[in-house]
């Protein structure tokens, strides 16, 4: 498989992108890795045989207005995505501005036919194992038919990466009863209920990490709030725990003894380590990594791309959206 990597995107670019790529390349002699970035970012040491460098002259900054994109056709994200369009790569990987990555993908690769809006799905580490949650992308205002399509794409993705063969699809709402929800979710409920999907009805925020579903669907606004509220809770809890664990000698001793437990906990919660999420609904593979991704998260994203590629995710979504 051939990967085009946007070496300039992300909070830790270009280092994390380059190191992550080199880590992945070491264990994948049969794959090709093309790093796209500014000449100044190019590593001084010689690259392995399966890694090459392609020079770009522009950068889309993390918070840059997407409007600027069309003036940045020599940016790393544009060139890397164009390589997928031109058949020079099978997937593009970026930790840069998600809005820019989405826009370039729609412009260059195009939306799948009949699709209203592409979406971004994340894998959540629930007590029951990995789950799919979407949209956590840029769709702040959506219509009920979009939620149906998100559910269809999420179900295909869940199958592709082995979450479930017959994914149970839940609709995120403010209560489990059928009459709960806002106008958007109530109309979406009816559409989902009539669809071929294995729809299990409304589910609540508290179900997200408990399980009992395989794919949870919501709009991009609520999805963003749910994800960041969970992050907020993890942050508060670990901050308090750290403080409490250093308050006195016996607690410090105890903290030493449970260090491996804390490490396991952190690992289980680190959904960024699952490594990237595909843009669902564009004609080609474009993998979104968290902006704060380190080398390990980047390295993990290649496996995610491989899963999607081997399971022909793009084709299968096109078949589902008819």
């Amino acid at each position: 498989m051939r990967f085009a990597i946007d070496a300039m995107g992300g909070d830790k670019a270009p280092d994390a992108l380059i190191q992550g790529t080199l880590q992945a390349a070491e264990h994948a002699a049969g794959d090709q890795f093309i790093l796209v970035g500014g000449e100044e970012a190019r590593p001084a040491q010689p690259l392995p045989a399966n890694v090459s460098w392609r020079t770009s002259s522009q950068v889309m900054a993390m918070d840059e207005n997407v409007q600027n994109l069309l003036k940045k056709r020599d940016s790393s994200i544009w060139i890397a995505t164009k390589m997928v369009k031109d058949g020079e790569a099978d997937a593009v990987i970026s930790a840069g501005s998600t809005a820019a990555q989405m826009a370039v993908a729609v412009i260059l690769l195009g939306k799948i036919d009949h699709l209203l809006r592409p979406a971004i799905a994340i894998t959540l580490p629930s007590l029951e194992g990995q789950k799919i949650f979407l949209d956590i992308g840029v769709n702040a205002d959506v219509e009920p038919p979009m939620l149906l399509q998100f559910a269809q794409m999420g179900a295909v993705y869940a199958q592709a990466i082995g979450v479930a063969e017959q994914p149970r699809v839940g609709l995120l709402s403010n209560g489990t009863e059928e009459h709960k929800g806002n106008t958007l979710t109530q109309e979406a409920y009816a559409l989902l209920n009539r669809s071929d999907l294995n729809f299990i009805g409304n589910r609540e925020g508290r179900d997200l990490l408990n399980g009992g579903y395989d794919v949870m669907v919501t709009d991009g606004f609520s999805g963003n709030i749910a994800i960041k509220s969970m992050e907020s809770a993890f942050h508060l809890l670990t901050t308090i725990l750290k403080k409490e664990l250093t308050a006195g000698f016996s607690r410090k001793m105890g903290a030493l003894l449970i260090k491996p437990a804390l490490r396991e906990m952190k690992k289980a919660l680190d959904y960024q380590a699952y490594g990237g999420a595909p843009l669902l609904g564009v004609k080609g593979l474009s993998i979104v990594c968290h902006g704060s991704s380190g080398a390990e998260a980047i390295a993990a994203s290649f496996q995610q791309a491989r899963n999607c590629y081997q399971h022909r995710l793009t084709d299968k979504i096109a078949e589902a959206i008819l």
Copy 2:
């Protein structure tokens, strides 16, 4: 102060309600506590001088359709709220169905003039101290002017319970930049920006427990999702921690040593212990307790009611909503 307590509402009713009331009454000789409940729930032992029992013949069940309310004018929540209306009590306290409590309050006490919708505010335990978050109530579909009024009520409430004198009001959105959000929040942003409030712009889910604000405003749908997503995260983290802390002898030893730290952590996170939240926007004090409240949470809710009463919360909200 005189309290009317709905002894029949809540997952642990009537025991938690009766025990919580007796706990509170012990330290408040000058206050009067009127428990309202079925004859069968009445304690056999004699009640203290400042606690009395008023018998009701009906119950509104936790998940009962609010439509049934008008046929249940002898239910404990109806009678307890009517006591506030009739001047026989200064506040009603319930851990029963929130929808029913809200509906009875609107029917019997009435909405404050010019108010579009009452709301429910919760106090969040952030790293910076207590914060106010609303609406976490029943308003799934709202209009921008309602969010402005929620903000006005939240600011008055924050002042009343001592969160801040000049509360910083944030709008929950999917990004901090002004252009972020959905149609609802973008229009609300403009209204908030033009208001007299100390509006600090858009804030994200991750800010909820970090701080940097005093009052966070959102619609009831997003508020519900945020709260329950945080609960979901706490639950996952503590479940994993428990499992990891029992995996091997040294971890078990460590767990013993850090037990006080874990207890402190749990206490810091237990926002239910803050004890009840007032229905904001009705002409009288009606305190909503979490359905799963135990005796301690119920006992704490009386202090919350006292704060609201002493700071003339209802009058001040009426002055803010003009």
